[in-house]
Symmetry: C2
């Protein structure tokens, strides 16, 4: 089913019927472009990216459009924006979202502090959304406030694991060939059914590839193609490389992509994405000791143990904590041998908070305390240690997951608070 634009009372227009931004609506939509800190004055060799994010996510089987589905409580699209933002030479990122999701999207940009993002209204199909994004970058549009890039990347909001490497490859190939796109081997054989749902013929798998994202184009190549293309293309097509070939006569250069480029399509893909992200952020841990001496003894033992499970283990008595946080470590074990209070833990929490590290992913802090089983009255001591639960409640609000580990010796008894 096809939906018209909300309040679509604009005048009829000549040429291809464009529903996303037409007539009087077009000027209004263009002027309502929301910009979040795009850098100016980078016209030479500038690269921009367009992300169509107007899909409804039918295949996911959930009511939330898939680009807004949470992964570790953060919407999928925020991961994709982060992946593009990390690439300093992408000057502008244009996201096309439906009118009803515009506020949600603005909220996501603010909450996760995304930069260089502009929003445009999505069209009713993927091609119309991309066209709206391109119009926001084209200088022939009224009220255009972005500068026209040399190359435009088109990517999907639901492919969060795109790396700089493949972005650079498609951009370079687009500069040379006019158009470029990432491809992957086919996982299944592709067949053509007859009208009565019987096998007509099957394609030889080795001769075909799956067309994936990102793709990149000389801006003029893809914008010209969209300006010429038919209503049928805009309604039923999905493949930008096809438009560049059909209307601009450009044979795109195909670039082998990594398996990470896959598109989050089904619910199982959300599970997979969550596991991949968890694996990435859980492989690095920093052990903070409250004295230099312990760093060399207890710390060393702990390091040896943790190294059997984790890729990156760092032990410190705290002097280089700022740097470790900057390097995006999300897991901390704070070992308090000298005291049973929380000074060290509190200092770490403050530093994590100031760094804004926990805006993107939860930060895990385990505060370890020792209790001598024989010499200390348990109830009294425990009450003090249990104050950590109050800290934990506060920290949770800032996406810091604080736990206390009480080591009760000589009878070793671990109590997770």
């Amino acid at each position: 089913m096809e939906l018209g634009p909300p309040g679509g009372s604009g005048p009829a227009e000549p040429g291809p019927r464009l529903r996303g931004l037409r007539g009087a609506d077009a000027a209004a939509s263009a002027s309502s472009l929301s910009r979040f800190g795009a850098e100016a004055g980078c016209r030479a060799s500038a690269v921009a990216a367009v992300l169509p994010a107007g899909g409804s996510g039918e295949r996911m089987g959930v009511p939330t459009p898939k680009q807004f589905c949470p992964i570790l409580e953060r919407p999928l699209i925020s991961y994709t924006l982060q992946a593009l933002e990390r690439v300093s030479w992408i000057k502008d990122i244009i996201v096309a979202v439906t009118r009803e999701n515009m506020e949600t999207m603005k909220g996501i940009i603010q909450r996760y502090q995304h930069k260089r993002i502009s929003l445009v209204e999505a069209g009713v199909t993927r091609h119309r959304s991309i066209f709206n994004g391109l119009k926001a970058l084209a200088e022939d549009q009224p009220n255009c406030r972005l500068s026209k890039p040399e190359v435009v990347i088109i990517h999907d909001a639901v492919r969060p694991f795109v790396e700089e490497d493949v972005l650079l490859k498609v951009v370079t190939a687009a500069q040379e060939h006019g158009a470029s796109g990432a491809i992957r081997p086919l996982v299944s054989t592709v067949i053509s059914p007859s009208a009565d749902s019987c096998l007509d013929h099957s394609l030889e798998r080795a001769r075909y590839r799956a067309s994936e994202m990102p793709q990149a184009f000389l801006f003029d190549v893809i914008y010209d193609a969209y300006q010429q293309c038919s209503d049928y293309d805009l309604e039923f097509g999905t493949e930008c490389l096809h438009l560049a070939l059909k209307y601009s006569h450009i044979k795109a250069k195909l670039v082998e992509g990594s398996p990470d480029l896959w598109k989050v399509t089904y619910k199982r893909d959300l599970y997979a994405a969550e596991s991949i992200i968890k694996e990435r952020i859980s492989q690095k841990v920093c052990v903070v000791m409250d004295t230099k001496e312990d760093e060399e003894h207890v710390g060393h033992c702990l390091e040896e143990m943790l190294k059997t499970e984790l890729n990156h283990v760092k032990v410190t008595s705290g002097q280089d904590l700022q740097q470790i946080i900057l390097e995006q470590c999300y897991n901390f074990v704070c070992v308090n041998v000298m005291t049973s209070d929380f000074e060290e833990t509190q200092r770490l929490l403050n530093m994590v908070e100031e760094s804004n590290l926990s805006i993107l992913y939860p930060v895990v802090v385990i505060s370890v305390h020792f209790l001598d089983y024989e010499s200390v009255p348990l109830g009294q001591k425990m009450e003090k240690v249990m104050q950590i639960r109050e800290f934990a409640k506060e920290a949770k609000k800032r996406n810091i997951l604080l736990s206390g580990l009480l080591i009760y010796f000589p009878q070793i008894f671990f109590s997770l608070l």
Copy 2:
């Protein structure tokens, strides 16, 4: 690279060169068929299944072939076998594995108590493995110990979530049309590259489908096709529907499959499969109370709380525990209000163990105990409760994950032992 059969010193043979089971080797391999309790005498309308499982799993990026990769510590292929075994009308399941994995596979069958399985040696390609499986079912082969089925299902060892519904659909369609296979919509556009890695043309996505598994064939249709097919087909082809069309002139009926039919191909698919299985087995919990009275009070409160998170919550004081275990509940909370000993928990553990429930998935048991903070000396009481750690060690060996939850009141303090 193509590998010959190990010790392939058999005589040259007429007709197509078949490497999997040739000449003298063929008789030896057929006689070495390992059978695990296949039922006899079901010749009329019998259905068998062939699972090629000789792949090396290159795309997974791990050294273990993907069909043997563990999901919750159990090899992927065991889930697929379980899915086929649940279907009572599949009389025989033939698995083709490489000679080096034969013992591993026998171990899996024994450990997870799979039934109706026969093993044959895999060929060096997927088609050769399937052909070896079919030969084991064909009556024209020497030493054939299985009976020829009317219909044969071909499925992948790495598609663990196949349901009876789609198996029935392909078998029924195969009885009518001679061949049938499950299909899915394409997720990506399919393109054809030119020799210089540029776009030659893209296919209109709506006109094509991905060919998935399971597929089903009248046995004679597919066996005849394999007997006629060329070396080239056996080496480079993968699609059985194509062979049935090319050599037996049968246009397979295509059946729309569910998203669950997807093939575990990449590491992310293992993550997804694990999450799906976890979700399935974690949605059902049984709360066992030690008195009928508590069942109505504490039990009811707990039921209300758990229902906000879980699909199936059952509270019982134990009389129908046998039935609940039979219905494949994998999660138990054993609440001990009356005593601080483990009689109830021990009784549950014994029942779980006798049921063999934990052979396929881990069973989780949480044993809950109460401690009065003011009236009971903590150390003494805790020592007793901590005996549960000894039980837990023993239970772990039988794939039962036992935890103790100590509720320490009036100051509510949860201690996970």
